[in-house]
């Protein structure tokens, strides 16, 4: 009967059937992507397939799924850090082998690779490790290290595109270290590139300047909570920071014989110039109240200047939608020297 029906089909019917089949096939192929959370093109934590067993370590059940609704149940106030960056979700796996040991695998799915970079940038110390040798840095940055992963005493921290990883063993041993690195390599197998946030490009270090960047202290962030953990300005959000702003913290050093001097540079990128100006005004009112009026008058024409405060000279530059502040400079010339290394246009 079926044969009979098929014999009765005309060529145009075959074409129609083929079209339907192709549509069905494409829909089937792309369904998982369209259903997954997060932005298209970003890695999805649930698409990372970790082994059930690795060197005798066995995963304890399916991953625990954490999002913004339950992150405080999982890590109390620590959740503020991930919400301070643009966070999608976290998958937590636990591997067991020995009764008093555990390997905890945390895969933080962030909304962009910049967020994962920001989380790793909060501490550049540790042993740099390469988890995926096929990935090379597209362009080294003079502002920050190009590490993809850092290891120390049983903790691996890494960025894999938009994923941030923390793999931690309660007790470290050479064997445990190998398992941690193997798990890291499995995840990093999905990596496509090692990129830096665009804001790093606003710094163009001048070779002849005595003020040099300490790459291992550079950090990228959005929130005043993270800023305060790097360089305390105020418990309040004086600079109107939010997910819509980008911030960069850069340490400069000047070595003169045995004397080492330091200065801290903060650069903020706002969505529009008015927001940058409003943030500067708010900063002046709270941080430099005695000079706020004069600065407000001058800043309409003069977009860069320095003032002396308790810990040295403070310099600023407002340009377009950027605001740069430099602190703890020993002389006003030092502040200008550092600000001159910026291209904020």
């Amino acid at each position: 009967m079926k044969k009979l029906i098929l014999y009765q089909l005309q060529p145009k019917d075959y074409m129609r059937l083929l079209r339907v089949f192709m549509i069905f096939l494409l829909g089937f192929l792309f369904l998982p992507l369209s259903c997954a959370k997060g932005d298209p093109g970003m890695l999805q934590a649930e698409n990372i397939h970790l082994p059930d067993k690795i060197d005798g370590w066995e995963v304890a059940g399916p991953p625990q799924r954490i999002d913004h609704t339950n992150i405080f149940d999982y890590m109390n106030g620590g959740g503020e850090l991930y919400l301070a960056y643009r966070f999608d979700q976290l998958l937590v796996y636990r591997y067991k082998k020995e009764p008093d040991n555990e390997i905890l695998v945390e895969i933080y799915q962030m909304k962009s690779p910049g967020e994962a970079f920001g989380l790793l940038s909060l501490d550049w110390t540790g042993e740099p490790v390469i988890l995926n040798s096929d990935i090379s840095v597209q362009a080294e940055s003079p502002v920050a290290p190009s590490f993809m992963a850092l290891y120390g005493e049983g903790l691996l921290r890494a960025r894999v595109d938009n994923l941030y990883l923390r793999i931690l063993a309660l007790r470290e041993s050479p064997e445990v270290r190998e398992v941690i690195l193997s798990l890291g390599k499995i995840i990093a197998g999905k990596m496509s590139s090692l990129i830096f946030p665009e804001i790093l490009k606003v710094i163009n270090p001048e070779a002849e300047s005595p003020w040099k960047i300490r790459q291992d202290r550079t950090a990228y962030f959005h929130s005043h909570l993270v800023l305060n953990s790097l360089f305390y300005l105020s418990h309040e959000n004086l600079l109107n920071l939010s997910h819509n702003t980008e911030g960069l913290f850069v340490n400069f050093e000047k070595k003169n014989h045995n004397l080492k001097q330091s200065a801290r540079l903060l650069i903020f990128k706002y969505p529009e110039p008015q927001a940058a100006e409003a943030a500067f005004k708010s900063f002046c009112q709270a941080y430099l109240p005695e000079k706020a009026e004069i600065i407000a008058k001058d800043s309409s024409q003069k977009k860069t200047d320095t003032v002396q405060v308790e810990d040295g000279w403070l310099g600023w530059r407002l340009s377009d939608n950027y605001l740069a502040l430099v602190f703890e400079c020993p002389q006003p010339e030092a502040a200008q020297d550092i600000l001159n290394q910026l291209d904020l246009s």
């Binding site: 405080f72 106030g77 620590g78 503020e80």
Partner: protein, 299 residues
């Protein structure tokens, strides 16, 4: 409650005007004003005692706790702090068999060692406190009404939102809203100690400084935990946090070989002293007594 237009800034710390600015910035609600003693004279007069007991052999090479050594350290801590000659009498000078005792350990980031909770429980029972009168009192859901005495057992650690997250912060879950004490409001952590169900119940604080964490997290990083192998004790929560902070800061500076200040600065300690009158934050008003191992004492 926060007074608008006044912010604590970095410059306040540089000028030494944090206390004044805090006094102006934070308005005290009426329930709290009634609870806080009227003036500085009402605060415990004289110096607060902070006792540090250390023993090099309390942890083995794998960082496992030797309970026997820890038990001996606890005895030294209690007798050293109370002036009693033996542990049972020391406990009974702080609590009675009629008390319902809540032990308040730290659960996250740098949890209090279970062994410490065990030796404390065992020694309380040995001193005549009924086992059923000793309970875990950490968490939001604890019924504090039925508890008559609290023994706080925080782990020594820095904290990324409050600078230090040890003694004053250890009761944050009693507030029912820990997020209200993040940001600039971390200065208000001291008000939790004035809640009616908490106030006056803390008989002793023993800080687990066996393996403190000197970086602020927010999540645990083993590279910043070190074997200090100590217990710290006092009845003054502010003095204990002030000394804990000193140890953590000294360790941070030693690790980096240059000043590595805690950021944000822990304003909760000064506020607990100046605004909430819970104890002494000024080191001039704190007497530090040490017993045992002296290597890298960091004070």
């Amino acid at each position: 409650m926060k007074s608008k237009n006044i912010s604590i800034t970095r410059r306040d710390f540089l000028r030494g005007t944090v206390g004044t600015t805090m006094g102006l910035a934070f308005l005290t609600p009426s329930w709290l004003s009634a609870s806080i003693p009227g003036g500085p004279q009402a605060k415990a007069s004289g110096k607060s005692l902070v006792l540090i007991v250390r023993d090099e052999s309390v942890l083995d090479s794998g960082s496992l706790v030797n309970k026997q050594v820890l038990s001996a350290m606890l005895e030294q801590t209690l007798t050293g702090l109370t002036g009693e000659k033996e542990m049972n009498r020391a406990w009974l000078s702080l609590v009675s068999p009629e008390d319902v005792i809540g032990l308040v350990p730290t659960t996250l980031m740098n949890p209090t060692h279970n062994e410490l909770i065990e030796v404390i429980t065992e020694s309380l029972v040995a001193a005549g406190i009924p086992q059923e009168n000793i309970r875990n009192a950490q968490g939001r859901l604890v019924n504090l009404e039925s508890i008559t005495a609290l023994i706080s057992l925080p782990g020594l650690k820095a904290h990324w939102l409050t600078g230090i997250g040890t003694v004053i912060k250890n009761y944050v879950l009693y507030s029912g809203a820990p997020r209200n004490y993040h940001y600039e409001d971390s200065a208000k952590l001291g008000e939790i100690w004035h809640l009616p169900q908490v106030k006056g119940k803390t008989r002793l604080i023993i800080v687990d400084a066996l393996r403190p964490v000197c970086d602020k997290g927010p999540q645990f990083d083993p590279r910043y935990r070190w074997p200090y192998k100590g217990l710290m004790a006092s009845t003054d929560p502010v003095a204990l946090d002030a000394i804990g902070l000193k140890i953590i800061q000294a360790k941070r500076d030693k690790l980096r070989g240059e000043p590595w200040p805690l950021s944000p600065p822990p304003i909760c300690i000064e506020a607990a002293d100046k605004i909430y009158k819970l104890g002494h934050s000024n080191l001039d008003n704190i007497e530090i007594k040490t017993i045992g191992w002296t290597q890298e004492l960091l004070i």
